[in-house]
Symmetry: C2
């Protein structure tokens, strides 16, 4: 079954009426936002989101390749974690820190990046459910993917240490805007921070 | 003039009536909160806070040793930056990273630490004036003090890099609570993060 077919066949399972031309994708995103807020990232399935949106599960898969892509759409993240993090991590393990910091900056150093970071941080610091969802998403889809690709010891610890530096970079560069880090050229930031991320990922920690 | 004398002589300069036993200190803190929000940390003087609170400037000095102490009271920070950071930085420069991470954890690893951090982060991510005040406070009284004590090159850059790691630690450990970093023993966190802070403070950066 191809994606367009799924899209067409999904209609009968919807609850209630749907006006012609309504935005099914937007309805799925709204349902997913509620599901993530209520149950967190881990416990939310694409099937449950489909049920809540009143659409066939195949329709959710039609619009979103996986749960990470759906979450990225909910949070208006400027990247798809599944594809892009795997790509950033692939390659020489001795330079993974450098690639990761560069990917981070290329993703967030945009006009839309700052307000998205601020919204994520504001939600996580005021709502426990938002903090939980972000924590589970970061652990599984961002830093979990980074360390899984490297096959090192203590992957969760390494992932959480990288998270501390990159979330801190987001806070210092985009939210609080501490100078000169806030206005520095991306390649300078890469040079300063890459050794830290590299150490957290691959150096002995004890 | 001793502090108690200042307290007594301050009454005539107040605007309006003051009921007996009113909390002058609390009034100064309220006036300071408004002044910091309107003008930022740098541009707010103790004299301007006194004027806004309708008290003699000497009375502000009676309750607060300096502007940093007044800001700490406004934000309910569990430490006085001026004294405690200078003390944490003093000593062998080869171990300043270790002392700084240990001081950070001893300050914030308390029951009250997490809600205070969350309030600071929530304010900075939703109000530009709060972000500015926090940025100016961190630059001058926290990371500015740290690097001033060391006399290294590019002090602002080093300060902002340390800020990125320690603010990130606060986010990962207290706000988002990424495990295992969130539940790790303080001395383990010191061991993992101290080399990063040490490098930002004293190693060649180019």
């Amino acid at each position: 079954m191809t994606a367009p077919e799924r899209d067409a066949t999904a209609q009968p399972r919807r609850r209630g009426r749907r006006p012609a031309g309504s935005d099914t994708r937007a309805e799925i995103v709204t349902a997913a936002r509620l599901a993530f807020a209520e149950h967190g990232y881990e416990a939310t399935s694409l099937r449950a989101v489909a049920r809540r949106a009143g659409v066939d599960p195949a329709l959710v898969h039609h619009y979103f390749t996986d749960k990470a892509a759906l979450f990225a759409a909910c949070q208006q993240l400027p990247f798809n974690p599944t594809e892009q993090i795997d790509r950033a991590v692939a390659g020489d393990p001795d330079h993974v820190g450098e690639r990761l910091v560069r990917f981070f900056l290329s993703t967030w150093d945009s006009v839309e990046g700052r307000p998205r970071i601020m919204a994520l941080v504001a939600a996580a610091s005021t709502h426990e459910d938002a903090a939980r969802t972000l924590r589970e998403f970061l652990a599984r889809e961002v830093f979990g993917r980074v360390v899984a690709g490297l096959g090192t010891d203590v992957p969760e610890l390494r992932g959480s240490l990288v998270a501390s530096q990159l979330v801190g970079l987001a806070m210092a560069r985009y939210v609080v805007r501490v100078e000169p880090l806030a206005s520095a050229e991306p390649e300078d930031v890469v040079r300063w921070l890459a050794p830290t991320v590299q150490r957290y990922l691959t150096a002995p920690l004890d």
